[in-house]
Symmetry: C2
């Protein structure tokens, strides 16, 4: 036979096989795996969930968070899936005992709900062995919303009560790799966002904020740790953890090592003087956990302690808890630049309500705070536990109307945002420069 | 039908397809490409050749060079396969005319045999638009052999005749990623190897030597270019070019961007003051070409000029031209630390001879210089063209015996190596530090 006949035979066999596979998928709901492996086209789409992709589950990874429930993601299920531990009453009490401070409302209300190795951190702290904090932000635009502040508000509290150093990574390189932005734009967003972060009140003597684009080129020790991590993680592993595909650029594929490196204290010799055994505690939203699962897997293989973690829930969009907020949709959240009037209008117009359709029905049947975004926002920002509980009861009974609930939220957020804007104005270029200069910090470890 | 029947059908279809593909390969000598893409198992082994894997061809990539011919790799075929251009008499004459110097023996004898865009470089140079040189070394051990000097000897000549700046990359990060070595070992080898490179006579006012592990952490501009390149190359592309697999670590997968970055002048703001349009000329052995094919593909997409290239043949092992030399086999080459006695013994014992078995036969039939390693080495190191031609003729006729040929090589290499060792002794730590400090260079562009 000629090569052309053979080629035609192969084409027929391929078509047959493809049809059989479609049948298989229809029958089983799964891709056929053995024999001829999946073609590139059957690989999940860019940055889609890999391990976490089963249909009935919430999707939670660094690029996608989605759920079909109006109450938001099922966080108890997430703890089981991710293999982390619940922040239970015992741990909250212990943090209170060790720090000597009333636990932050984010702890009292389960907003930071999951952890890894927090007991170990406290054990060591009780024996005078200190630790440091690491958190970060991906600067994808100038605009930050209140949800972006959650990890920073909590990290500031941790810095205050434990009196420890903090490093904040601005992943401008990541945003360049993932978004249609120039390096210069990403770097500018990093500096602008740093101003909002500084306005949260961090101690300039204990806090180092860095842009990856700057610090990678300013610290051979940081790059050495990046290379060490990159040697100990395969493409198969990042494919499994992050859902990368063969069509992803090599920058994305190797980036997880750059988010991992600040978890090791010798990435900051100016702070820790070359010590590699100071433990790291990372407060972050749960969607960042995949990076640190990878980091914790690598750590012992390169001779470093595993970072501990505190995970927060997601801050819901005004439209409801089904999705994470989008910085690109101005109506999806309250931005840090919003005026009192904008805040009022957005909440009145867009905040998803758990109330009934008419005042009469609401008085009769009561509202549902579990799906009401205004109530959810109050759990994040209203400090007084008793007042919050009274609001919950009154809303549930119908005594409190949706308009009244929204008014409480508006009057909570307006002064909070105004004060933030006032503090941000005080943040001069000189102050940003100081925070972002590699330098020794002032602490006792 | 049940899922089990369907599964069996698929297995049969897969078997049929696999058989047809084997037939196709037997008939055409090539892998079948269209339709069902290659499975992971059919991807070539770690770092093996990808595009270049057909059985009857020489293997040439950054990690493997092999051929079945005693004459060595077929370089004319390689030019066709790589899509480069032959360095013909016209180009050699032109280099002589533009530089005003007699062409280096490596050019006269086809040791640098292939190029990309060298005419463009000369066109610009004639119009007073200068260029810079970039070459490098992977410091996998302290021991360097004479073969390692080939690109440096030639690059020094280019620097002298064109009076231009030069950057030399020591890829200590690459060696850490590929070999079972610590970061500290790789960095130490980089500094030790730099001494041998400096001993080739480079102008300290025009030469910057850098370790990746140091320079990445010392230059935000270098890292910015690395990230730019990493954004514009996919895993599919490096898989095709370098034969990487899913089991390779993410450090290997992203490394090609680090070898590419010095091809762009704004990676060295201390030298070029932020100019991004100074063209780069890269003299290197042909096995490094895959890195720069990738670089040239990316360059226009990120707004930079493509680097030009000059490719050298491989320096043969003492045992014959079938393989590239190994720094780990002390008897495979002449090392830069060898004593006159070691040089003599190695050549007499190990240098593969193209001579006949007995003196009588040799006198009668003559020797074969094309496979004789001693003669090959003389083409690299004996400056006098007429003397070399006479040796060739006398050896071919049988007038010159193998022992006599080896004696000429010994007497050529002994003083050359001794002089190198003398010059290396003069290279103090202070001088190495100067060469390796990012600083302005002294030149007119």
């Amino acid at each position: 036979i000629s090569v052309w006949v053979l080629q035609a035979d192969i084409d027929v066999a391929v078509q047959l096989l493809l049809k059989l596979k479609v049948d298989y998928k229809q029958m089983t709901g799964q891709d056929y795996k053995a024999g001829c492996p999946p073609s590139e086209n059957s690989v999940p789409p860019d940055n889609g969930p890999a391990v976490d992709g089963a249909d009935d589950e919430d999707t939670v990874d660094p690029w996608n968070v989605s759920t079909t429930s109006a109450k938001g993601v099922d966080y108890d299920k997430l703890i089981v899936r991710f293999g982390s531990s619940k922040i239970d009453k015992e741990l909250v009490d212990r943090i209170e005992k060790v720090s000597g401070q009333k636990p932050h409302r984010f702890l009292r209300r389960g907003i930071f709900f999951s952890h890894r190795d927090m007991h170990q951190v406290l054990d060591a702290y009780e024996k005078q062995k200190s630790f440091y904090l690491y958190t970060g932000r991906g600067p994808s635009s100038e605009a930050m919303h209140v949800g972006h502040l959650i990890p920073f508000i909590f990290t500031k509290w941790l810095q205050d009560v434990f009196d420890i150093p903090l490093v904040i990574q601005m992943t401008d390189d990541e945003k360049y790799l993932w978004k249609d932005l120039t390096l210069e734009e990403c770097h500018r967003f990093a500096v602008e966002n740093a101003k909002d972060i500084i306005a949260c009140g961090f101690d300039i003597n204990k806090t180092f904020i860095f842009s990856d684009l700057d610090y990678m080129g300013a610290s051979p020790e940081f790059y050495r740790n990046v290379v060490k991590i990159q040697k100990h993680v395969t493409f198969n592993q990042v494919k499994g953890i992050f859902g990368f595909t063969d069509s992803d650029c090599i920058g994305k594929i190797s980036f997880p090592a750059i988010q991992a490196a600040p978890s090791f204290s010798n990435s900051f010799p100016q702070i820790f003087g070359g010590r590699k055994d100071t433990q790291c505690l990372i407060p972050c939203a749960i969607d960042q956990d995949p990076y640190f699962r990878m980091t914790r897997d690598v750590a012992p293989r390169i001779g470093y302690p595993k970072p501990a973690l505190l995970h927060s829930t997601f801050f819901p969009a005004l439209q409801g808890a089904q999705t994470k907020m989008s910085a690109s949709d101005a109506n999806s959240s309250i931005f840090l630049t919003d005026t009192p009037k904008q805040i009022k209008n957005k909440i009145n117009k867009h905040a998803f309500s758990g109330g009934k359709d008419t005042v009469e029905e609401h008085r009769k049947y009561g509202g549902n705070p579990d799906v009401d975004v205004s109530f959810m926002y109050l759990t994040f920002f209203l400090e007084d536990d008793e007042q919050l509980e009274k609001i919950r009861q009154d809303y549930t009974s119908g005594a409190l109307l949706t308009g009244e609930l929204k008014k409480i939220l508006i009057e909570t957020l307006q002064p909070m945002i105004a004060q933030h804007q006032e503090r941000r104005k005080q943040v001069t270029d000189e102050i940003v420069k100081q925070f972002m200069t590699p330098r020794p910090l002032n602490f006792n470890i």
